[in-house]
């Protein structure tokens, strides 16, 4: 079948020399030129412009109606690829052919002007995203209704709450009807309801038979939405194929073993308030990648608190299985905590902290699990540090839950908790007596 997107041997090269100071001044240029001509060949850093290929030898085709995921670590070239596809940036080599109108949700609200009213911004933003005036006019009421801003449509958007602003921006962007849609991490913004709305919208786009390129760190979302997935690493395609396969590949290469350690506080994930130092799996008191199914698993998150007095620092872990399905997420907020956390409520003096969470024995299924660690600060909820798939571990089936001589196949489910079961006889009459199984709520 004829592809709707054809990418042939595309590459993008950047100059590193100009990246630190993204723009120069004439004086720098003149000074640099004079210096280098004076010193001849053996000159300083200016003429030694390092170049690096953000993307190289990218070749793929997308058929109409496909939803293709693009995954990879930070710096793998995902955003660069989207920039090339959306024509924001030009490839250095290669060729991309698009056989359909392309729209992008790279960032909602692009071109919103704070001084203009909601109505004015709808038209302006629509035009910037490539809609015709007649098209915007036709969809105007729908946009306003979706964004729930009817009463404020004549108010400058600088007076909007951030939620209203975001809703309006997404409402406009979601009215785009291109044959090809690019989506990058839109799901990262906004609250859970809003994210749900976004995901719903993408599903809707998919059912309408349009082609979508979906770039995300969220393996669960990629798994749910995409039929095919491209994995990038170091600017090259390292895998392309069915999402299940590629995500599994990614999960196995993307994370370290039992421990992830960041020695240098300046380079650790985080910001100037909080930084991660380590994430590790502990079982039987040692850091290990292999965990017996009948042993408790402890996950440690070590972090530096750099701002004295911070409170409500939430260490959070997100567990995924080998296919990128979410298994669970948990954090140490007092409402979600089964134990007492000495520090959660207290103002934290600057220093190094360790938060630990223990998963009970006979709880996880056998197989590989991937841990993403977050540091959040509550109220307003902010992600301060994130280490996607920082560590992984393998739960090993020791056979404790199996019948002697029984099968060895994998049990269904993300978890395999050992739960209490009891049987009682309800009515003692004949062989046709019905059995009733019940699980007591509390024992």
């Amino acid at each position: 079948m004829k592809p709707i997107i054809r990418v042939e041997n595309v590459g993008k090269r950047y100059r590193i020399g100009t990246r630190g100071a993204a723009y120069g001044t004439l004086r720098d240029l003149i000074a640099g030129t004079v210096q280098s001509s004076l010193r001849g060949q053996r000159n300083g850093n200016r003429s030694k412009t390092n170049t690096f290929w953000a993307l190289q030898e990218i070749d793929f085709e997308v058929e109409p109606g496909e939803i293709v995921g693009v995954i990879g670590r930070n710096g793998a070239g995902k955003s660069t690829l989207l920039k090339l596809l959306s024509r924001v940036s030009q490839p250095t080599v290669g060729r991309i052919e698009l056989y359909g109108r392309l729209g992008s949700l790279l960032e909602v609200g692009t071109g919103f002007h704070p001084e203009l009213t909601g109505r004015e911004n709808i038209y302006l933003n629509g035009a910037i995203l490539g809609m015709k005036r007649a098209e915007i006019k036709r969809k105007f009421d729908e946009i306003v209704a979706f964004a729930e801003v009817e009463r404020f449509i004549e108010t400058p958007v600088k007076h909007y709450s951030s939620g209203m602003y975001l809703r309006l921006a997404f409402a406009v962007a979601s009215q785009l009807e291109p044959e090809i849609l690019l989506i990058d991490e839109v799901l990262a913004v906004g609250d859970a309801t809003f994210q749900k709305k976004c995901l719903g919208k993408i599903g809707e786009v998919a059912r309408a038979g349009r082609t979508v390129i979906f770039v995300s760190h969220n393996m669960t979302a990629v798994n749910q939405l995409c039929s095919r997935t491209i994995m990038l690493a170091g600017g090259r395609i390292t895998a392309i194929g069915s999402t299940k396969q590629v995500v599994a590949d990614y999960m196995s290469t993307a994370s370290g073993g039992a421990e992830a350690l960041w020695d240098d506080p300046l380079r650790a994930p985080g910001n100037d308030r909080l930084r991660l130092r380590a994430v590790r799996v502990i079982s039987k008191n040692v850091s290990t990648e292999l965990v017996d199914i009948d042993q408790a698993v402890t996950i440690e998150v070590e972090f530096w608190n750099l701002m004295s007095g911070a409170r409500h620092i939430c260490a959070n872990i997100y567990l995924m299985d080998a296919l990128g399905n979410a298994v669970l997420s948990t954090g140490n907020t007092d409402m979600a905590n089964l134990a007492d956390d000495d520090w959660y409520e207290e103002p934290h003096p600057a220093g190094l902290y360790r938060a630990t969470c223990t998963l009970p024995p006979n709880f996880l299924n056998d197989g590989r699990y991937y841990v993403t660690a977050y540091l959040l600060s509550l109220g307003p909820l902010t992600v301060e540090a994130e280490a996607p798939q920082a560590i992984s571990f393998e739960v090993f089936d020791t056979g404790v839950m199996r019948q002697p001589g029984g099968g060895t196949g994998k049990w269904a489910g993300a978890v395999r908790p050992r739960l209490p079961w009891r049987t009682v006889m309800v009515e003692p009459r004949g062989v046709s007596a019905e059995q009733n199984l019940s699980v007591p709520v509390a024992s």
Partner: protein, 308 residues
């Protein structure tokens, strides 16, 4: 037990809907040729008319945004459009016209200087605003594709609107001073086109270079100020031409395209003879600048998103 079927349970609904379908069930038929081809640019022609035409509505909206934003939250609003040339003309009339007695070629000085201010404020205002326009729109440039030329062009169109509004005041002043237009007025459209193309050329170039070298944005107001005093805005060009100077100096003076534009703008409005050599030179220089800046813009455009 087989886990694969169970793990995919929750995802099967959107998952199955997206499987690539055969051509018959696909709602769209693909065109034979690609709608867009993206590759390193190496074409010799700097204008992509099809692309510009496709984005024509964006020009309208950018112009409209420029106007809206400039006059939002101003008490006098559009009145500022006419206040600016009026106030400047008033000051120059008092100090240069009345006190310093600068000649004005037989026209009342107030009318003379307003006729200079009108095109000059359009040119200078557009050039300064275009200079920083791309950098000011970096959030757009790094996110969405459209012909980048639209941004300075939108600024110039916005100022052209100001120019048209002020022209009505100019017409009023003409009536007040009992100056009746002659057939010469037919030259006005030509001059306005020339002036607009000149402004767009300089605006595009400064905007593009400013992305790489922010010096341009800083230096521009000063340079424009210098440009004003080397152009016959507040004085007639005859005070230069009537001097016993070598021909080379006159030609050099006329190399400033604003000489040809302003001289002939006044000739078109008030009657009198056109300065054809200056007009010809201004046209040639404008065309050269336009071609040059189109190429430069096209060349630099490729890296805007990377360096801005």
């Amino acid at each position: 037990m087989d886990s694969i079927s169970t793990t995919s349970n929750g995802v099967s609904e959107p998952g199955t809907a997206v499987k690539p379908r055969s051509a018959s069930s696909s709602p769209l038929t693909l065109p034979e040729k690609p709608i867009v081809t993206i590759e390193p640019r190496n074409d010799w022609f700097p204008w992509d008319f099809r692309d510009l035409w496709h984005h024509r509505e964006l020009l309208y909206f950018l112009t409209w945004r420029d106007l809206k934003v400039r006059y939002k939250q101003t008490a006098l609003g559009v009145a500022w459009v006419v206040m600016q040339p009026l106030l400047l003309s008033l000051i120059f009339t008092i100090f240069l016209g009345k006190l310093a007695r600068v000649p004005s070629d037989g026209t009342p000085y107030a009318l003379f200087v307003f006729a200079g201010m009108l095109p000059w404020l359009f040119v200078s205002g557009s050039v300064i605003a275009s200079g920083t326009s791309l950098v000011g729109s970096s959030n757009l440039i790094t996110k969405v594709y459209f012909p980048r030329m639209m941004i300075p062009a939108g600024i110039v169109c916005g100022r052209l609107f100001d120019f048209v509004v002020s022209s009505f005041v100019f017409a009023g002043l003409m009536l007040y001073y009992h100056v009746t237009p002659t057939r010469n007025i037919l030259m006005l459209p030509v001059l306005i086109v020339l002036m607009t193309v000149l402004t767009l050329s300089i605006g595009m170039w400064t905007a593009a270079v400013n992305v790489r070298f922010r010096d341009v944005g800083v230096a521009l107001p000063v340079l424009v100020q210098l440009w004003m005093f080397t152009s016959p805005v507040v004085y007639p060009s005859t005070i230069v031409f009537s001097r016993p100077l070598a021909a080379v100096w006159r030609w050099l003076y006329m190399c400033n395209p604003m000489v040809g534009i302003l001289d002939n703008f006044r000739a078109a409005a008030f009657g009198g003879s056109f300065n054809w050599p200056a007009l010809l030179l201004a046209t040639v220089i404008t065309i050269v600048l336009f071609v040059y800046s189109s190429y430069e813009f096209r060349r630099l455009e490729a890296t805007f998103a990377d360096v801005i």
